[in-house]
Symmetry: C2
């Protein structure tokens, strides 16, 4: 069976993901982890992301338009807010709860994902220039 080994590249990816306070793209994870392991390649990043997701260590956050981003699961259940202006993604720690009732009869809800779109506080007041997040 699969014995997961602790490698430098895996550790580098892990700390990059843990250090970030927002979901990171594979590209970002690769670049950040390369600070520790310069030779790290995308193939390894993708392979490890998949393993880490299966291990329940991290989870994918998928928003329309962009590819998947990843963040640690231990931050608990939460949702996301994407600013339509600056495109940054923020964590939303509250949860409306009681969503199971929305499912059609006979359907079982195991999980749910909620994303809010709008303006973050910085973009709400005035109309600033875009401030990318990737």
């Amino acid at each position: 069976m699969s014995q997961e080994r602790s490698t430098r590249q895996r550790a580098a990816m892990r700390s990059a993901i843990e250090a970030a306070e927002r979901p990171l793209s594979p590209q970002e994870i690769c670049e950040l982890a390369q600070a520790e392991v310069p030779a790290l390649g995308m193939a390894t990043v993708y392979r490890n992301l998949k393993l880490m997701v299966e291990a329940g260590e991290i989870e994918a956050v998928v928003l329309p338009g962009d590819g998947a981003r990843y963040e640690p699961t231990h931050r608990g259940h939460h949702h996301h807010f994407q600013c339509n202006e600056c495109k940054r993604v923020f964590d939303v720690h509250e949860c409306p709860g009681n969503l199971d009732r929305l499912a059609p009869k006979g359907f079982t809800v195991e999980h749910h994902e909620l994303t809010l779109y709008g303006r973050c506080d910085e973009c709400a007041d005035h109309k600033p220039s875009r401030r990318g997040s990737r």
Copy 2:
């Protein structure tokens, strides 16, 4: 500037999307529309999907794992349910509402998206087998 013309391929795509009671993938739209216009190619499908989205006629539904699916906007505000077993996507017509309060202070919510995951009625009863194999 852009004068949108009414072409057979566009009409075929439109009726395919309208006829479906669930979000369709570009692939599915192409295949369905080919019943009317056999020579229809994916390039045209993608080009028209983009135009139709910009026109506000349809909207993209993006769920983790798969590419975008499209459905008419005139069906009003609703959400989605994806079965972890059969991977089909169903419409959820109710909405928890009052989600704006979840946003951090100073943030303005303009839109939200909610997706439930679990078992559809057909997959709920039988086999509690494993999921995803693709």
